[in-house]
Symmetry: C2
Subunit: 304 residues, 2 copies
């Protein structure tokens, strides 16, 4: 079982504090800290760790302990909006784990954070059943400075913990979401209006697909335009459907797709779904992928 967790901490100016937090995560058995980076102007750090449910839970709780000891939101300043010392904690299913299990983990960790540290917790994205409290920006609006007033407003009782902010650590937003795919399609034209029209056609906010954010840009150095996208749930809005829709919309203007590009990482399931679609593969199962099968057997044998 492999769960990714990307805690966002409201501390990006004291390297020794961030290093101690990284060490606390790395010390947890069954967890690997893949990356951490800090931004001084945001005064914020992002940690990327992976592990099984138990390991990731222990790492997050260890992080809370240090964050509450070290961070005081009453004196914290930075460009990035934030509600709490540990600001946001998303859990992302990677391999051998379902979204439902990540939602359950978010709730378990949320309850534990509230019980141990007295920090109120809002659930978000897939872990929230409340449409008004799914979107991180909606929950965080007003920031730490407006939190006490917001929490006293109807509809803003937290999912776990006291109905008032922790004095120094504020509140925390914990949830589960799919891995993001940053995906661009380059068009064989310099017409920015075409890229913008296609972006508007496919993005959720203007009537397009539910899990697509998109904008049109010019790539000046190449003399072409790009439809730049974030795909926020590749299972429900698959990459091949978005690609084919962009291609059809572009053809409407006599424009061809030049190429597409994946920025950063993509889950293998998203690529497999595209292969399965175009090759019309019936009855395909993930454990038909050779490497997956070999790993599953290896893990079984070594008891991992």
């Amino acid at each position: 079982m492999l769960i990714e967790c990307i805690p966002n901490l409201s501390e990006g100016r004291r390297p020794e504090v961030v290093a101690a937090m990284a060490a606390a995560i790395s010390a947890v058995p069954g967890v690997r800290l893949l990356d951490h980076s800090s931004d001084a102007s945001h005064n914020r750090s992002v940690f990327t760790l992976v592990g099984d449910a138990g390991g990731v839970q222990h790492a997050v709780l260890a992080l809370f302990e240090r964050a509450i000891a070290e961070i005081d939101l009453r004196t914290h300043r930075g460009e990035h909006p934030r509600l709490g010392a540990v600001d946001v904690v998303p859990f992302v299913p990677i391999e051998g784990v379902t979204m439902a299990e990540c939602v359950a983990l978010a709730k378990t960790v949320g309850a534990a954070v509230a019980a141990r540290y007295g920090v109120p917790v809002y659930l978000y994205e897939e872990a929230s059943d409340n449409p008004a409290r799914k979107n991180l920006e909606d929950i965080r609006r007003g920031e730490f400075e407006g939190l006490a007033a917001k929490m006293a407003t109807p509809g803003w009782t937290p999912d776990f913990g006291p109905a008032a902010p922790h004095p120094s650590a504020g509140a925390t937003v914990i949830g589960a979401r799919m891995p993001l795919i940053a995906y661009n399609i380059n068009l064989a034209t310099n017409r920015l209006d075409v890229a913008k029209k296609i972006a508007a056609a496919i993005r959720h906010s203007s009537g397009g697909y539910r899990y697509v954010k998109a904008a049109g840009f010019t790539l000046d150095d190449r003399g072409i335009v790009q439809v730049s996208m974030n795909l926020t749930n590749y299972e429900k809005t698959p990459i091949f459907r978005v690609f084919e829709t962009v291609r059809r919309e572009a053809a409407r203007y006599g424009v061809a797709v030049l190429e597409s590009e994946i920025v950063g990482l993509i889950p293998s399931a998203a690529l497999n779904a595209a292969a399965e679609h175009y090759l019309q593969i019936a009855g395909f199962k993930a454990d038909q992928v050779l490497e997956y099968k070999l790993r599953a057997t290896a893990n079984l044998k070594s008891g991992i």
Copy 2:
């Protein structure tokens, strides 16, 4: 580094002997025996193991030691053609290893087998530079009973070891090959002639793609026909090109592709290549696959 090795042994009737061979493989550090199966009428067993180059090499040598002690080709009978006690040993690159490294491994193991056990070794498939000695069937023609005469014929000096068979263990064929993909395309018709014409169009033996074996069949229970294929090198003859060719050829007869199916396992690279092709992804790299990246990092950290 993950190499698959599938030794074929000329013993399928004495379970205790096969079990001892399986135990000898499993005892080698860095090697996992994924599967073994025996066929009494073939009097033959197939082992599937994975590991790094050193581990797989030790496992094969351990297998030779037991095979030479236990198997005598002079009294061996079975339906399956065979040259030796350890009949065939292919090495297959799976992850983090190139074909060139598997070829080098085949040569190292071949030399070691000849030096330690006095068994002559023929290289085959990618490990052989001799067009007449690439194909397993060509090397094995005449079987153990005709081996002494064959080895005395010009062009049949082995790649390693003596120019005469080992008295009881015969000779061994060792090489490197790509993973096979068993791939079928079902057509929305009951016309067997169409399936057979398409199979002939795409298979190597009748003028088609270099790494395709194909035949046309009727699926009686469904009232449709199938083009059944083995893709023997998915890098050089990719699955998407074969699929599109079948689709075009079928359209020529007014027939549509109903679906395709992958039988058994498929390397993720073969699926990724299809996604990359249809989505026109430029500059895609294997380490953009999330799970691959996470595993690579995990291996680095734990020193595996």
